[in-house]
Amino acid sequence: MYPLLLSAYTLTTCLGQGLDAHRDALKSERSGLKRCDFESVTLDTWIGEVEGLNQVQLPEALARFDCRNNRLVQLGLEADGFAQKVRAASERYGADRVGVFLGTSTAGILQTELAYRQRDPVSGALPEGFDYGGTHNAFSLAAFAREYLGLEGMAMAVSTACSSSAKVFAAAARQIKLGTIDAAVVGGVDTLCLTTLYGFASLQLTSTLPCRPYDPERDGLSIGEGAGFGLLERADNATPGALLVLGVGESSDAHHMSAPHPEGLGARMAMDAALNSAGLGAGDIDYINLHGTATPANDAAEGLAVSTVFGDRVACNSTKGATGHTLGAAGAIEAVICALALTDGRMPGSPGTGSVDPALPLRYQRHSEAAPLRRALSNSFGFGGSNCSLILGVQA
C-alpha cells in the first residue's frame, strides 16, 4: 500500500501559521503555551491558543459552518498555499477523485456549549441560528473543507480521540491504493473548548505549569489547538528529496477508556505494525516524535513500549511542550513536524522538559540539533485505547 507521496503539507498552531513560523519556533525551542485565559474558563492550567481566530471570516455561502473549529480549518488551509495546491490537484484529477479525510476529537462543540448558555429561559430551546450539523458534528470540519476546496468526492471524519488525525492517513492510503480516488486531503483540526479543558481537569490530567514531557516531575498536559494538513498522491513519480508516507500501524489497547495499557502493549503493536507496513526494521528509524502528553502514566507506558521496540538508539522527543496537546489534530501536526525535520535535517527540541525521567531508558532529545534524517516515526494514542504510528521518509 505504501509509499505515498506527501506532495504538500502545512500546519497552524499556537506557534504560528504555516511552516516557516514552525521552523523558527522549533529551532529556537520556543513554546507557544500561555496561562489559560480562554473564554470564561477559570482553570489553573496552560494552553496553546491559535491567534487571530476571531477575525477569520468564512465565505458567505458557507456561513452555516461558522464556528471556532471551522475558522481554524480555513486559516490552516490557507497557510503555505495549501488550498491552492489542493485545487490544482482537483483540476488535475477531477473534483470527485480527491477525497477528504480529517480527524478531530470535538469539532465545533464549543458552539453548542455557548448555545446552551443562550437557551430560551421559558422553552429551554437553543438559539435559532445554532447549526448542529455545520458546527458541532464530528463531520463538520470535513464537510466544510470539502465545500471550501470545491471537492465532490468521498469524505469522512475520523474521531478516535487523540489518534484521530494519524488514523486518517491509513483510511486515505487504502482508497488511493484501491483506485477509488487519486489523491486525498488528510489532516486534523481541534480547537479549545470547555468540554476538553474541564474534562481533562476532572481526570486530573492537566498540569498547573507548562507541560513537561518525559520529565521526572511531569504532572499533566497542556491543551492546545491546531490544524495540520497534507495532500497524499501516488508516489510513482517521486523525485529525490520528496516526502513520503512509508507506513501506518494501528492497534487497540482493549484495556481502559482513559488509561493506557501500563506496559504500552497496544503502543508496541502499533509501532510494530507501522514498521511492518513500511517493510522496515527498528534500525531504519532515525527520529521518533513521541505522543508524549506529559501525564505520568502516558509517558511511562509509551516510554516502555518505545524502548522495547527501539532500545535507546533512536533519538526521540515530544513537541507538545511547544504546541500543547492538540488532541485530535496532534497526529497530523506531528506528522508535519516530522516532515519538517526530514526536509530540514534538523531534530526539534523539547521545551518544558528540564531533565529526562531516568526510569524511561530512551535517547531523549531535549534540544534542537542538526542531524541527517531519512525516516521518522510519529506516535499518536487516544482515549478508548486507539493507537496509531506513522512512518515518514525522504525519497533517496
Binding site: 446552551y116 469522512m156 494501528e250 482493549a254 478508548g384
Partner: protein, 270 residues
C-alpha cells in the same frame, strides 16, 4: 470532471446484526423486509451488555448497549471470534444524552464535570468499550460523516477487507439526542446495523457485495414506516441493501452517501 472509474471493492457478508425501532434483531428484520411480517413501529430494545466488566456495564450508555448488541449479533451469526476482528465503527454522532448532560453542566455555575462523562463523550467510546468487552486488540477505525456515515463506514470497511485480505466487522449505528438538541437533530431512536465482511466466500456466506461510487439516486422503501427509518437514521440508509438480502434478490442497489456521490452495491446472494 473525471470519467475514471475504479474496480469495485468486493467482500462477502458473513453475518448481520440489526437493532431498529420495531425490529429488535436480524431475524425479525429479515422477516419484515422479506414481506413475511408487517412492520410495526415500537421503541428500540437494547440488550444488556453482559460481556462488559461490572464497573463498565454500570456506566454503559444506550449507544454502547446498541453498538455492542449489533456487533455481537453479527459475530454470533457468522460464528466468528470477536477478539480477532478488525473493526470499523461508523456513527453520525456520539452519545447524545451524555453530550447533553455535559453541555448543560458547562453552562451552569458548577463546571466540575464527571470524569466518566468526559471519557464517554469521545466519538470512539463505543469502540473503546467494544475492545474492552471482546479483548480485541486489532485495529479499530471510527468514522463519522453526518448523514453519510453508513456510506463512509462501508467504504472504509470494504477497503480494509480488500487491502488486508482479512475479515472486518462494520458497526454502523446512531442514537438520539434529548431536547433541546433534538430540535436541531431529530434522529428518533437508537438503531443500526452490523455486517461481518470477509475477503473470501465460505459455506456460510449470505451474499457477495461489490461497491462502486455512482451519481445515481438512492433506492427507497415502499413501506412508509421503513422509509421513514431509512431517512431519519443514517445507519439505516442500509435498509435497501438489507431488503435485497432478506429477499435474496441479485442485482445492484444504490445507497445514500454524500451528494453528489452515492454508493452502488452489486448484491449476489450465495
Amino acid at each position: 470532471m473525471s470519467t475514471v472509474t475504479h474496480a469495485p471493492l468486493r467482500a462477502w457478508i458473513q453475518g448481520i446484526g440489526l437493532i431498529a425501532p420495531g425490529m429488535p434483531d436480524w431475524p425479525t428484520a429479515r422477516a419484515v423486509l422479506a414481506g413475511e411480517q408487517a412492520y410495526v413501529p415500537a421503541p428500540s430494545v437494547l440488550p444488556v451488555p453482559s460481556l462488559l466488566p461490572t464497573a463498565e456495564r454500570r456506566r454503559a450508555s444506550r449507544v454502547i448497549k446498541l453498538s455492542l448488541g449489533l456487533g455481537l449479533e453479527a459475530v454470533a451469526h457468522a460464528g466468528a471470534d470477536a477478539s480477532t476482528l478488525a473493526t470499523v465503527f461508523s456513527a453520525s454522532g456520539a452519545d447524545g444524552h451524555n453530550c447533553h448532560a455535559l453541555c448543560e453542566q458547562l453552562a451552569s455555575d458548577d463546571r466540575q464535570v464527571s470524569p466518566t462523562r468526559f471519557h464517554n463523550s469521545v466519538h470512539n467510546a463505543a469502540a473503546g468499550y467494544w475492545g474492552i468487552a471482546t479483548r480485541c486488540m486489532a485495529p479499530c477505525q471510527v468514522i463519522g460523516a453526518f448523514d453519510a456515515s453508513l456510506g463512509a463506514g462501508l467504504l472504509d470497511a470494504m477497503a480494509q477487507v480488500v487491502c488486508t485480505n482479512e475479515p472486518v466487522l462494520l458497526v454502523a449505528y446512531d442514537s438520539e439526542y434529548p431536547q433541546p438538541l433534538f430540535a436541531k437533530r431529530d434522529t428518533p431512536d437508537c438503531a443500526g446495523v452490523a455486517l461481518l465482511l470477509t475477503p473470501q466466500p465460505s459455506g456460510q456466506s449470505l451474499a457477495s457485495i461489490a461497491l462502486r461510487t455512482t451519481r445515481a439516486a438512492a433506492a427507497t422503501l415502499q413501506d412508509p414506516g421503513l422509509e421513514q427509518l431509512r431517512q431519519k437514521v443514517p445507519a439505516l440508509r442500509s435498509l435497501p441493501l438489507l431488503q435485497r438480502l432478506a429477499q435474496r434478490l441479485a442485482g445492484p442497489v444504490v445507497l445514500d452517501y454524500l451528494a453528489p456521490q452515492q454508493i452502488e452495491l452489486d448484491v449476489q446472494p450465495c
